[in-house]
Structure formats: C-alpha cells, structure tokens
Amino acid sequence: MEVSYYPGCSLHGMAAEYDESIRSVCRSLDVALAELADWNCCGASSAHFLDDDLAVGLAARNLLIAEREGRELLIPCAACFQRLKHADKQLRKEAGRWTAEPYQGKARLLHVNEFFDRPELIQGVRRKVKRPLAGLAGVAYYGCLSQRPPKVTDSRQPENPTSMDDLLRAIGMEVRPWSYKTDCCGGSLAVARTDLVRKLSGDLFEAAVEAGAQCVVTDCPLCQSNLDSRQAEIEAERSKRYGLPVFYVTELMALAFGEDGADRWWKRHFVDPRPLLRSKGLA
C-alpha cells in the first residue's frame, strides 16, 4: 500500500519523533510513505488568521499536488489536517477562485488515527504486536482540530471519537474512559495566553488522573507540545504532581511492534516517560 504523506512543518521540527515513529510504524505495516512532492505550508496559524484566501490558496496547492499523485494523503498534524480539509471543502465549491486547474477532490485526506483504524490496517497492527503494552493505562486525547467541526473534518463521532482508543487497545494498552477526549488544551494560545493554556491543560491533567491514567496519548503536535512542555509549570502553579508522559500514538505503536529507535524518542519528551515504561517492563 502506498500513500502520499504530508508532514507539515511540525513534523520536520518540534514533532520529529512523531514523524519518525509514523515512518517506522508504516514500514512495519508495509505502507510505503511518499512524501508529497514540493509541499508547502498548509496555511495554519498565521495565514488563516490574516487572509482566508491565502490560507485556502496555500492548502490548495498541496491538494492539487496530491490529486496529481493519485494516492490517499496522510496528514499527521491536526492543524494541517484541518486546513487541508477546509480547503478541500472550499475547492469543491468554487475551485476557480484559487486555481485554473480543475479540482476533483479525488485524494482522500486522512488523519493518523482514522488511517490506522481502518479494518485492513488494524488487523495488521494486531498481528505486528510483539510486546503488548499490558498494564500501561492511559487516556486517548484527540484534541479538537482533527475532529471538529464535523462539517469540515467529516468526523462521524466528533463528540466521542474512538479510532485512537481502538488502536491503543489493539496494541494491548489499557484505555481508560474519560470525558475529555476532544476538550481544548489551549491550542494556539500557547504563546499569547499561556495562562489559558495552563488552565485548560491543567484541567485535562486533573481529569486524566481522575480517570486512572498514567499517561496521555495524542496525535496532535500542538496538543502534545502544550501538555508536555507546560506540565511542569502547571504542576508548580497548582502545587500538584501529575507526572503524565504525553505520547504520540505512533510512538507507542512502534514500541509495541518492538521496533528499534523508540528509545531515541523518549529523551526528547519534557516529561520523561522512561520511569513509567521501565516500571511496566517496556523500556
């Protein structure tokens, strides 16, 4: 199976371990990733705040390339996914505004969880597990951009997505039920309003601990960054200790598949996951 792959800027930068773990897992599952040729910015953050036409236009270029490549497009970053989905919807309505090329919307846009949770792949995931993550209890945290609004994301269960829960169960993890799967972590206010990020992310930690989680698993670089890098600050502010490592879902898949390299990623985390993994015999 071959898919086009749109890493976006995050996966080339701060979320490099996300990128590496995706590539690693795909290798194991015989999924060939072809990085989208000459891709550019998705239009997230700055562009879509300032100029909607530009924001759609940037994404449109990527979509047209993907359409030419003729494969499904895997978009790991939730913000990129959201922008490309939005642009896709716009182009379907009036492509001519942004491009002279006809746009058919043939390339199916897929986010990481729904990509791996497909029947044909999840079977493979189950088969590839060498080291089930038994005893590791965590919560699946989807954040908002990959799910909502459903008229953009086409999510079938925007209030209660289950694809990551399925994946984590498939690799043997204990997935705790909680009500905060899609609550906001503070998102792109990470720079402007850190007080809000601390409040929102802090509430998520409280809920995760209450749910009996030992870690949080996400598939969004922004969520991962907020929850991981702000955790110490929040702990200090609330005089509490959460100690919740924040994983990318693909990191744990690679770990369960027994792939080399997982160890490399742990040291990039702010909340060091190694003590937890060690205690479960997983590191």
Partner: protein, 1489 residues
C-alpha cells in the same frame, strides 16, 4: 350476532380503520364505535396502549398513568364494534373517500389469540431473555412475552427474527439454538428431550456429525463459532446417564410401518413415527443394529457403547428392531400387515478399483475392512498399507490401520490435498497419527507375491481442466509409474447400494440407487418410500437423519390419506445475524482430546465430552440469532395449546369509509447529541427511561435509583430541549410536552426521595396548558425544584464516582460547574420510524420533519380526502390534546360517513330472560385453575369439594380456564341443564372479567345481575403464593362469601333511556359554530344559542393566525354555513333562562327577541367562550400609543400604519401568570410574534422589542419565533420581580432590566403593545349554575378528567369546547369543538341509551329531606321535590352508593348493593351457623395442598 347489511348507504362504508392504538387511537375508535361505526383498530406492536402506558404519572394531576388508561384498554377490548388487530401494518390502500379497501399485514404472533388466556405459564419456561421494549431496555423480558402486565389483547406473543442460521443449515432442522439456550440454563433434561425429538441418536450425532450448523454460526464472524455439535454431544451423554428410562410412546394409530435397514435414516424414520403413535418395526440384516454407524465408523470416533445406549433408548420408546434377519420382499412385508415401508438399506458395498491384481488376497475395500475392524474380526495388521481414495472412509481406514499396528500407512490420492473430500480436521489428525499421503498418484496395477500383495504400481497425475464435479481433472503423466511396496491395499473410492430382496419392484437409477421423489421420498410403489445412502449414494449421517424424518412425514400423510406434497418445505426465513459490536470475544470451548501417541496405540475415543462448566460457558457464547430459540418449552408449558411456532404472516383486506391515522411518536435518539454522553455514561438516562425508573413496575420497583451503582441519587439534573428547538439537527420545532413532563418527573423524584435536589436546565419553561403554570410554580414552592436557564453544552463523567459534571453560566455571569448523581435528558418527540412508510402507503403528505401535513384551520384533515389524523403524528402534543384531537378526527370522519352510520355495526341479541321469581336460589359455582396461576397455589379441587357443601349450591365445576370461549359455551349449557338461577365464578378480577361472565348469563337467559365473583387469583394465589395452605383456606372463605351474597341477589332490569336526537350548543364563537356544524353535518338537529347579536366571538378581532391563515375569511364562511345549514337553528341575542333534564333529554328555556322559548336536545355543548383582559397596568389608557395586541392587530390592517413606526415595544404576560390570575394565557406569545413579524415585514427598519418572561411558542410556532429573531426582533427577558416600568409624561418610555446584561435598558417607542391575557367569560358563573357543571378556581369550566375526559363534564351528556375550557388558539378550539361534537354524537347517534340498572332509589316514605344526599352526591343528582322529599333521577345516577351509605334514615337503597347483600358476605365470614358448620366439616376433610 347479526351483521347488518351495508347495501343502501350510497356506497359509503360505515366503518373506519384507526391506525395506531395509543391513547389517541383508542379514543377515536371508542368515539366512532359508540356513534354507530364499525372500527378496525390496527396496532404495530403486540398490545394496545401506546406510550401513555409506559408513563408513571401524568401532569398536572399526578394521576397514575396506568390506572387511568387501563379502563380504556378494557373498554376497547370488550367493544363489540371494535376489532383490534395487533402486530400488524397497513401495507396497501385502494379506493376513495367513503369506500377504501385497506390491506393489512398481520405479522405472526406465534400464539393463537383465541386460545391464549394470558396465564403466563409459558413465560417462566422460556430460556431467552431480551431487553424489554416497554421498559426502554432497562429490564429483561422473555422471547415469549406480554408487552406489559395489563396489556390488551391479554395474550402473549413470541419474538422471532426467523429461523436461526444454525438450524437453517442443519439438514435435519435440529432445534440447535433451542438446546443451546436450555444448556445455558442447565436444563439438560429439556435440552436432551428437544434433541431426541429431532434426532434418534443424540450422542452418536454429537460425535460424528460434520456440523454444517457451525459453518453458519454468526458467532464465527466475531471470533469462533459456538461448539454446537459438542454441546449436543454433552446433552446426549448427560441424558444417557440421567434420563435413559423413557415411557414408551402410546400407539395412537393401527397402521404398522416397516423400516428396512437400521442405519441413521431408518432409525430417524422410526423415531419420528413412534412419536406420532405408529407401531414401527425396523428390519436389520446384520447381527447388530446401527448400519454404517456401527460397521463403518471406527471406535475411536464412535464407541459401540454409545451407539448401544442410544439404540437402547429407542427400543424403550417402543420401536421394535429385528436384527440378523434381512427383510424379505415388499410383498412379504405387506403380507405381514405392514401398510407402509421405508427402505433405507444404505450403500454397504465398496466399489472396485478396476485395475489388474485387485482380486488378490491382501486387497480389501474400506467398507469391508472397517466392518472387520469394528466387528473384531480384524485385530492386527502386519506390514505396510496403502489406502486408495481421498474421502472420509479412506481416512477412517488409514487411521484404523495405524491403530492395528501397520508399519506404514499411506493414502494414495489422485488429486492434490486441496481437493480431498475428507474433512480437514480428519486429515490433520491422521497426519498427526503418522499417516502418510501420496498425492497426484493413481494406482494402475497391483503386483502379487506369495498369494499376497507386493507392490502397488501407480502413475503420477497432474491437474487439468475442471471436470463435472468442478474439481480439476487428474491427468496421467506419461511414463511416470512408480511403485509403493505394500502388504495390504484398501480401496476407498466409492460405495454402491445393496437392495437385498427389495430391488425387484422398486425402480432404480442406472447406477443402482433407488429412485425416489426428492421431496416426498416416494418410490414408484405406493406406500414404499426410500431415503438415505440407498437413494443418494454415500452421504453424511445428518443427511440420513433428515431423509428418515422426511420419510416419516410422508408415511404419516400417506396413512392418513393426506396429500404428500402440500405445504412441505415452507420454512420461515433465516434470521439475520444480530450483530456483535458489543460482544466481548471469548474463545470457544475445546474438549479434552488424546494426544497422537495415545491415539496410535488404541481405539480409545479421541475426543471427550465437554465438562458441565465448559458446556454452560460455551452455550453462553450463543448470540440468539433467531431471538426465540424454538426450544419448544412454551409448547410444553401451554395447557391451552395456544402456541403455533409455524405461524405465517397473514394479509387481510378491510373495507372502510375512512382511515384515521394515530401512529404516535418515538422519542428523539439522544445518541445524536453526543455531547451529553448518552450510551457512554450509565447515569445519563432519557426521560422515558426515567419514567420507567419511577414506575412501580419498572426496573427498580419504583425506587429511584441510578443505573451505575443502584444508589439513590440525591442530585438530579434535567436537560431540556434534547432534540427539540434544534435547527442543527433539523428539529427546529418545540416538542411541546417536555417542560411539563420534566417538571412532573422532578416533583415525583422529590416525592420518592425526600431531600432530593432536582434541577431543570431549560430555555423557556413552556407551561402553557390548563393548570400547568400553577403546577410549575408549585414545583418551585413545594418541592424546591431549581430552574436554571441555559443550554448545557456538554456533560462530563467523573470516572471514580460516575457522577456527572455540568457546566453552565451562573447568575453572576461566571461559568460554574456542578456535579449531579443522575442526568435526565428531556428528549423530544419525533414521528415514529414506521410512519413515513405508512404515509406513503395511504398517500398522505408529510411535512419536512415527517409529521403529517394538516390544514391550519382543519387540524384533523390530511392532504387526502377520507384520511384523517390525530395526536402526535400531526404535531407534538400532550395527552389531553391528543384525546381532544382524536375525538375531533373521529367527528370529521363521522361527518363524511354519516349516511352510512349504523350499517356495519354488530348487535348482540340475547334470548328472553327467564323469570326466576319465587325460585329457591340454585347457585352454580365455577372454580378456575387459570392454567397453573391459581392451581399451583390453591388446592382447586379442594375448593370445588368445599363449594359443593355450601347451602344453595346446585352445581360445582372446575375449569382450566373459565374465561375461554369453550368454557363460556359450557357454562351456558350447564346453567340450562341444572336450571341454575345464580352463578358464582371463582377466578380473577371482576375489573376485567365481570362483563364477560355477565354476558354469558344473558346468553343462558338469566338476568346479568344474578352473578357474583370471588377473586381467588389476584387477591389470593398471587399474593399468597408462598402460603398454599392458607391460600386454600382463604379461597374457600372467598367462595363461601360469594355464594352467600349470590343467594341474596335479585334480578332487575337495566335502564333504557330515550334520546332526543337533537343537540343544544351554547355559544356561537368559532368553537360553538364548529361544534354545531360538526353535529349538523352528522345529521343531527342543533339549536345554537348566542348571547351577542352577532356570532363569531373573539375571532372577530383576529385577522390571521401566526402561520398566516386568513381568520376573517374562515369566520365569514363559518357564519354563512351556520346560517344556511338546514339542521342548525341559530338564536342570536338569546339568553339562557332555565335549564333542566338529564342525558338524552335536556331542555333549555331561552329569552330570544323578548320572547321565551324552549329548545331541547339529548346532549349539550358548552362553548360560551372567554374574554380578553382589559389591562389596568403599564399606563394602559393613559396614552393613545399604548395598545393591546388585539388593538394593534386591527390597526395593522392598514398597511400604512406599520410604515410609520420607528420603534415598538411589546410587554408579555400582561394580566397572566400573576397572583389572582396565575394561568398562562397561551396565545399571547404567538400573537406578539405574529404582530412583530407583520411590522417587520411592512417596515424592516422599525425596531421591535419584545419584553418577555418565557417565550411559549410550542410546537411548530417555534419556527416563527426563530423567524422573528432572524428578522431582527429583539427579545429581552425580565424577571417578574423586576417588571418593565412605563412612563408617559414627557413621551413614552419603557425601562426594563435586561436579564442577560443585568443592566437597565430604556426604550422610547412610539408604540407600546400589551399582550393582555385571556379571562374566563363573565357569564361563565351563571352558565355553571344553570347547568350544574363546575368551574375551576380560575373560573374556567372544569372537565370530568383533565387527561382522559377533557371534553366531558362529570354530568353525563354535557360537553365542553373552546375558550370556556381554557385559553387556546383558534386551531385548538376547532379541534376541540369537533371533538365535543364527536363526544355528543356518542349520545345522539342512537334513539336510546342503555345504562346499568345499578342506581340508588329513595323510599319517599322514609325521607326526611335532610339534604345529606343532596350535599354528598358527587354528580349533583339528588333534588328535593315539591313534595319535600329527595328524588334521584335514574338517568343521571351513577350508582356510586355514596348517598345510600350516608342516608341517616336508610331511605336510600343502591340496587345490587343492598344492606342485606353486603351483610350476607360479612355474616358468613364471621359466623353464619349453617355456613360455619359446612365450613368446619370441610376443614376437617382436609384443606391440605
């Protein structure tokens, strides 16, 4: 029973079909049937009653819903002119208004309604539990079930999804899901009996069957199939140990049957025949019975012991098996007296290889080889063995050879492994035991040495094109011969038949098999049937069983002279898989098996039985695809013989003149609002689920608990508008009822759990109905219910406590989070799923939500003539609105069909009553067993013996079901035979059954009042089930008391009242005129009395409805029709001077044009209207710029008026929802929005501000509210404590504290419009006194019952409609007026009324005119006459007996309840000498149970 002729009615059919039997459908059916139309009431589920039956209490009276509805259920059930058709769908409609033919499909109930007495004996036997629909899935019910205890028809039904895939896959149609279900309940004996019914040899089949059932098992799609075959073996083996001594089957037929051959086919045939009562003999040529089972299957798969035990059981059933003697010819058998023969001699001969050398010693075909092994003749093999062939026999032979010590065993097969016909698992086991395989090889000759075999010469093969069998054809490879050195060659390449002495007459195929018919198995010789291997060639054991059973059916038919073919193979469709998303994977049970080493060394059985624990756990893996498992336990339990598992759907065509649709609603699916976590969070329930939680018959027996931990919740939140007022989901209407039911549920919750904190999160509280506002205020004041305004956007579950956190904006404007123990989602109403199809079938249009499209001012009319609608299919509405709408729709249908009235009704005629005066009482006592309902607790025979000893008792009988039709017939005969003149039935409750037995008395020519019941079920066996001895004593007490009273009963006639078939309607507003026309169009003469000089009432001031219908045009038309109608006499400017009479005969004296005149009628409709409030507040009258809404509406008639406006303010609730006038006037919100929109349309720039408390645009009016906001109308909410302030000095100013901003807002409108409320009519009091009908505290007329009799007064024959009842819209007034007409028509449609003769009478010689009766009578019937004594009008008396009980002079007697009749009961309970002696004697004689 006479069916009236339907000829001369201008082709219109005097019958109506009502679709949907909820409260609306039932009301419509009763109104129509009571007005002379025949009704077919079609219901989708198995019982009538609808949603209302599911509710706990009803608002605003807190009456028990079930208690109020169940008398209606019984009334419908007993009505001679209502045919109830349940479990049925309308599937077709032809014809036109007045003459429709409706096709109805009755889904099979699998229970004969005529026979089922709802005793419930079957329920406890059923092994399949399902979520109960009635309990919203919160409780379990059985696959055989009654929808709810009070359900009508009082009969069970069975849920089936079709034939379970396992059973469908089984050639012998074994009831596999059934025995699996029984094993799950550890009911092995029943399970074994079920298997034995289908299969002669369960233990054998459990070992050797290739179980095609498991291939189709739905569980296999999830993880692995259920081990069905192993379970069958488990029960088979269990039964061999625990249940091996059956009684022989009684022989009920003379005709002897011979079965030739004792293999599986023959034995299956014999098993089936002996069960049907035929003497059957099996002839077997071999020394022992069993055929191929014994001689063809090695012992490691099937030990002889098992076969012997199974055979032994068959012999005990009465099957004769003669062994060691081949059957002679057919002629011989016939001469021995056998009248039918089944030939099942099998295929016991091995086929030859057809190669050189095959005749030598050392070549032995597999059949002969295995026979030798199994009989013990072949005990050891020296050297090596080659087996030729790839089927199961080849594998059997090879594996047997290994066990006999062969040095090497090789299977030679000419194709590859993939093509081998043997089962995979057999091949794998053989390999494990050391059997070798030579694929793609075919023997070409056998070479000998020393008389024995030396080598087998083979040729290599290659696979070519597919041959006829679809498998690739083996093609020899030239020159590829090779040798295998062997000592024994076993060909296993086919078998042929052995017909013995039977072959000469029976036709055979060219290959030597018998020819028999595929379906009947009949051969060319009449009476001779053939099946099994001898017909088909070698096949599986279960195929042979199937053939045997099929033959038995044919033989039975043949011997009874019935067509052999008719109706065969009409199997029900296969059930779809139930889906298994929520099922946890669980591996299949594996029995213990021997390892290969042990296996090679002996013929010990390889596979063991499952252990009991394994079996039970395995049985639990079954997904119950068929729902009903067809275990047939209900058939065994049902002594009435009512269960019919083979019932098929049935289509009927009904001729009707009109169709009335009342299919009801379904609750909104809360999964569509994922943010509330329904389905994920256990403690989030729907309002309908909460109704069941509150209900005493619900999951927690009426204790309020929460599902997660069954704890009593202390903090409960209701979230309103779930699925309502929701444009996002396309449900942008208001569901109208949720506010009130939530208030009711909150009150009830607090009532159940003192201290419970109830909080309702809402948008607007829409307490718009009669008495609702007071109820809402009462909830706050008396129950502390908190009302919080705001939409809840999400619910979070606390993982440790399962509590639920709700975030909302608090009074201080901050986001607050609060925890609750339980959250109730007030789900809205949606049209039922099935109604779209129904609408399509009958051809009516739906609106965009799927509700039925109706005309704004003809609310019961659909888009198709002759089809009417009522209840929640038209729009969301509550119970009283539904009842009114149903009566209204009934009236509309009756108008259309009035010429045909009475043409389709049935009347029952009875023989003349026998005069029993002067006869000694001769009491007949009928004691009911009620299946086992009474008999399992009460010693019924004992009660019967006892009853015989009682004085006056002339005859006593014991009945299995006293209420069954047969027994009724018998009672009639018994009454006549024994000349009985009193009857006592000791059974269930008079509530449901007294009318039935009274009718039986009438059929026997006895007065119906000579009847008495003793309730020995509900009040004895049910409540004292754990004390049978005492219960029997009590039953005797009850019977003794009943007999004592029966002896005192006197016959008396019932009352027949003449009816003046005209009507009087008071008030000629929209309601009065509509009611009058409704009756006139039904053919009744109407006197319409109006106080004002002109008809029209308040509607004269209204131009349009909110939806835009032209009211003035409508009104003008109405007035014209009233004036022109020949049947209507309109008296305007007339006042009511005097009123008298009773139902059937009222008289009203009118002053009209200064003359006095009298009008008469059998029924009266009060439609005297209401009045608009004339405000005194908000500076009304002080400025020309301050108007009421009605005044504004008049002004808006001038299009220039709105254009001149810059800003308009409106104030709501003026004179409503205030102390002294606490009701909501219901129409003011619509009125304000209507006028606001009119202004905005004419002048979009005008600012319109509506100052309100709650906007109460219920139902589809909500859409107009939304439209108003979109148009820019500004809505500002104020608290009643902070009312707007209006000043006129220095220009009009309105100040209000905006509730959201919490800041004052000042408006300077050029117009202030007051939404003034509706008040009772000033003359209501006078009308109330004249008619002696009550008003409520607010001054509106008070109906008989707020829920179910909203159009009736307590005084019979007087009805109510329009604003006289309460504030309402024009459309509602119209609907209600039509309804009142329907109610009145139930009185007017017949020239007389039959009433019970149980009434109170005054002995005027004793009366002291003390007025006690006058004061106490709840119906205001007694009056003091001119003679100065009390008089009770028989026509008005309801027979309640209050006056008789209270009369200090004992001057009043209530018939049938005379003092001596009541005393008789009490006397014998506490010691009548004669009865005591009789009782004592009976006690000594026993009383043990």
């Amino acid at each position: 029973m006479v069916e009236a002729n339907a000829q001369n009615s201008r082709d219109k059919v005097g019958a109506v079909m009502v679709v949907g039997a909820g409260i609306g459908g039932m009301q419509a059916a009763l109104d129509l049937a009571n007005a002379g139309f025949h009704v077919t009431l079609v219901e989708e589920t198995t019982a009538i009653g609808g949603r209302m039956a599911q509710l706990d209490k009803t608002f605003p009276t807190n009456d028990c819903s079930m208690c109020t509805i169940s008398p209606k259920l019984i009334e419908v059930d007993k009505h001679l002119n209502i045919d109830v058709v349940t479990n049925a769908d309308v599937i077709g409609l032809e014809g036109e208004a007045g003459n429709f033919r409706v096709k109805v499909r009755k889904r099979p109930r699998f229970v004969n309604l005529e026979k089922c007495n709802a005793c419930g004996d079957c329920l406890e036997k059923c092994p399949v539990a399902l979520p109960s629909e009635f309990d919203q899935g919160m409780m379990a019910r059985k696959a055989i079930f009654k929808r709810y205890p009070q359900a009508i028809p009082a009969a069970v039904a069975i849920s089936k999804a079709g034939r379970a895939p396992c059973r469908a896959a089984c050639p012998a149609a074994v009831h596999s899901q059934g025995y699996v279900a029984l094993i799950r309940q550890r009911r092995y004996k029943e399970a074994a009996a079920l298997v034995r019914r289908d299969l002669p040899l369960p233990s054998v089949c459990g070992r050797v069957c290739y179980h095609p059932c498991e291939d189709q098992c739905e569980r296999g799609k999830l993880d692995q199939p259920v081990a069905i075959c192993a379970l069958k073996r488990f029960v088979g083996d269990w039964a061999l140990q625990h249940d091996s001594q059956p009684e022989p089957f009684p022989l009920t037929h003379q005709e002897k049957v011979a079965v030739v051959g004792s293999g599986p086919a023959g034995l299956a045939c014999a098993n089936e025949l002996i069960r049907r009562g035929y003497p059957v003999t099996v002839f077997e040529a071999a020394q022992k019975a069993g055929g191929m089972l014994r001689y063809g299957i090695p012992a490691y798969r099937l030990p002889d012991r098992v076969l012997d035990q199974d055979l032994d059981y068959l012999r005990k059933l009465g099957i004769r098996i003669q062994t060691g003697k081949p059957a002679a010819s057919i002629a011989d058998l016939k001469s021995q007296g056998f009248q039918a023969v089944f030939v099942s001699t099998g295929a016991p001969r091995g086929a030859p290889l057809g190669i050189p050398g095959e005749e030598s010693e050392g070549v032995l075909d597999a059949i002969r080889f295995l026979r030798g092994v199994n009989s013990g003749a072949m005990a050891r093999i020296e050297g090596s063995v080659a087996v030729i062939g790839g089927g199961n026999s080849a594998i059997d032979a090879a594996r047997a050879a290994v066990r006999l010590g062969a040095s090497q065993v090789k299977v030679v097969y000419r194709r590859s492994r993939a093509e081998m016909p043997a089962h995979d698992w057999e091949i794998e086991e053989a390999e494990a035991e050391g059997v070798g395989f030579e694929f793609l090889a075919a023997p070409i000759r056998i070479e000998r040495q020393n008389g024995g075999v030396k080598r087998l010469v083979c040729l290599r093969m290659t696979l070519g094109e597919p041959d006829q069998s679809g498998r690739p054809k083996p093609v020899p490879v030239e020159g590829s011969d090779f040798d295998i050195l062997v000592n024994l060659v076993i060909p296993a390449i086919g078998q042929s038949a052995d017909l013995g002495g039977l072959g000469e007459v029976v036709q055979t195929t060219p290959r030597g098999w018998i020819s028999s018919d595929a379906i009947t198995l009949a051969t060319n010789v009449p009476g001779v049937f053939a099946g099994g291997d001898v017909v088909t060639g070698p096949a599986s054991v279960v195929d042979a069983f199937a053939a045997g059973k099929r033959a038995a059916e044919s033989i039975d038919r043949y011997l009874r002279g019935v067509d052999l073919r008719e109706g065969r193979d009409l199997a029900s469709p296969t059930a779809p898989g139930p889906g298994a998303e929520d099922v946890k994977p669980q591996p299949r049970a594996t029995p213990k098996t021997l390892g290969p080493a042990r296996r090679r060394a002996s013929f010990d059985e390889i596979v063991s039985s499952l252990t009991e624990e394994q079996a039970v756990a395995e049985a639990q893996r079954c997904l119950n695809c068929g729902i009903c498992s067809e275990c047939l336990q209900c058939v065994i339990a049902c002594t009435a013989g009512a269960i019919l598992h083979d019932m098929l759907p049935e289509e009927i065509t009904v001729e009707v003149g009109a169709v009335l649709l009342a299919p009801g609603y379904e609750p909104f699916d809360p999964l569509l609002r994922g943010e509330y976590g329904y389905g994920r969070y256990k403690n989030v329930v729907t309002s309908l689920e909460f109704e069941r939680i509150l209900s005493a018959s619900g999951p927690y027996q009426g204790h309020v608990r929460r599902p997660s931990d069954l704890a009593e919740p202390k903090r409960v939140a209701w979230i309103q508008c779930v699925g309502s007022r929701d444009p996002q989901l396309g449900n942008d209407y208001c569901s109208s009822v949720c506010c009130m039911y939530a208030v009711k549920e909150a009150i009830m919750a607090v009532d159940h759990v003192p201290g419970l904190e109830a909080t309702i999160f809402y948008n607007d509280i829409r307490a718009y109905g009669k008495g609702f506002e007071a109820y809402y205020e009462g909830a706050k004041k008396n129950y502390g219910v908190r009302f919080k305004r705001g939409i809840i956007s999400s619910v979070k579950e606390r993982q440790q406590t399962r509590n639920l956190a709700l975030a909302y904006v608090s009074e201080s404007g901050q986001v607050a989070e609060e925890e609750f123990d339980l959250v109730v989602l007030s789900v809205g109403l949606r049209p039922s799923a099935s109604t779209a199809q129904l609408a399509k079938t009958v051809g009516v249009e739906l609106d965009r939500f799927g509700f039925c499209r109706t005309d704004a001012l003809a609310p019961s009319r659909t888009s198709k003539e002759g089809i009417y609608v009522a209840g929640t299919f038209a729009a969301p509405m509550d119970i009283p609105e539904t009842v009114m709408a149903a009566s209204g729709a009934a009236a509309t249908a009756a108008e259309a069909l009035h010429e045909a009235r009475g043409t389709r009704v049935r009347e029952k005629t009875f023989p003349p009553e026998r005069d029993v005066a002067g006869e000694e009482p001769r009491v007949g006592v009928f004691v009911c067993r009620c299946g086992t309902n009474i008999a399992r607790v009460v010693g019924v025979s004992d009660v019967v013996d006892y009853a015989r000893s009682l004085p006056y008792v002339a005859h006593v009988e014991e009945n299995l079901y006293t209420c069954s039709t047969d027994t009724q017939r018998k009672i009639v005969e018994t009454i006549q035979q024994y000349n009985l003149n009193r009857v006592v039935v000791a059974s269930c409750t008079p509530r449901t059954h007294e009318p039935l037995f009274q009718e039986t008395l009438r059929e026997a020519g006895l007065n119906r009042h000579l009847f008495e019941m003793a309730n020995i079920r509900d009040q004895c066996s049910w409540v004292h089930f754990s004390h049978p001895r005492e219960a029997t004593f009590k039953a005797k007490d009850l019977v003794r008391m009943a007999v004592a009273r029966a002896a005192t009963l006197r016959p008396f006639p019932d009352i027949r009242l003449e009816v003046d078939q005209r009507a009087i309607v008071l008030g000629a507003g929209v309601a009065g005129m509509t009611a009058a026309l409704g009756l006139a169009d039904q053919g009744f003469e109407v006197a319409l009395v109006e106080r004002e000089p002109e008809p029209g009432g308040i509607a004269r001031q209204i131009r349009h409805t909110l939806q835009g219908a032209d009211v003035q045009a409508f009104l003008a038309d109405l007035v014209a029709r009233v004036k022109e109608h020949p049947q209507v006499r309109l008296y305007t400017g007339a006042t009511l001077e005097d009123f008298s009479g009773h139902v059937g005969k009222f008289k009203a004296k009118l002053r009209h044009n200064s003359r006095l005149l009298e009008v008469g009628g059998g029924a009266v409709i009060v439609a005297t209207g209401g009045a608009a409030y004339n405000p005194t507040e908000y500076a009304y009258g002080q400025s020309a710029a301050i108007l009421t809404q009605l005044e504004l509406e008049q002004k808006l008639a001038d299009p220039h008026f709105a254009r001149g406006l810059k800003q308009v303010a409106m104030i709501q609730c003026v004179g409503s929802r205030e102390e002294g006038h606490p009701w909501c006037s219901r129409v003011c919100c619509q009125e304000a929005i209507k006028n606001a929109l009119a202004i905005k349309r004419a002048n979009p720039a005008a600012g319109v501000f509506v100052l309100f408390r709650d906007i109460r645009t219920y139902g589809f009016d909500e859409i107009e509210y939304e439209r108003a906001r979109e148009a820019g109308v500004v809505f500002i909410r104020f608290e009643p404590e902070k009312k707007p302030e209006v000043t006129v000095d220095g220009g009009l100013r309105v100040r209000v504290i905006d509730d959201v901003l919490d800041r004052p807002v000042e408006l300077r409108p050029d117009l202030l419009v007051l939404s003034a409320g509706i008040r009772p009519h000033p003359e209501a009091e006078a009308v109330s006194q004249a008619l002696k009908v009550p008003l409520n505290a607010d001054g509106f007329f008070l109906e008989a019952h707020m829920k179910l009799r909203p159009l009736d007064f307590g005084s019979e024959g007087i009805f109510l409609a329009g604003l006289a009842h309460a504030p309402k819209t024009i459309a509602e007034s119209i609907s209600q007026a039509k309804g009142a007409a329907a109610r009145a028509a139930t009185v007017l449609s017949k020239p007389f009324l039959d009433r019970s003769g149980v009434i109170s009478e005054v002995d005027s010689t004793k009366c002291a005119a003390c007025l006690t009766c006058v004061r106490l009578c709840p119906y205001d019937v007694p009056v003091i006459t001119e003679e100065g004594v009390a008089f009770i009008e028989p026509a008005s008396c309801q027979g309640c007996g209050v006056c008789a009980a209270a009369c200090p002079r004992k001057a009043i007697v209530t018939r049938h309840y005379r003092d001596e009749q009541i005393a008789a009961k009490v006397d014998v309970l506490f010691g009548d000498a004669a009865f005591e002696a009789a009782g004592a004697a009976a006690l000594q004689s026993g009383g043990e149970t």
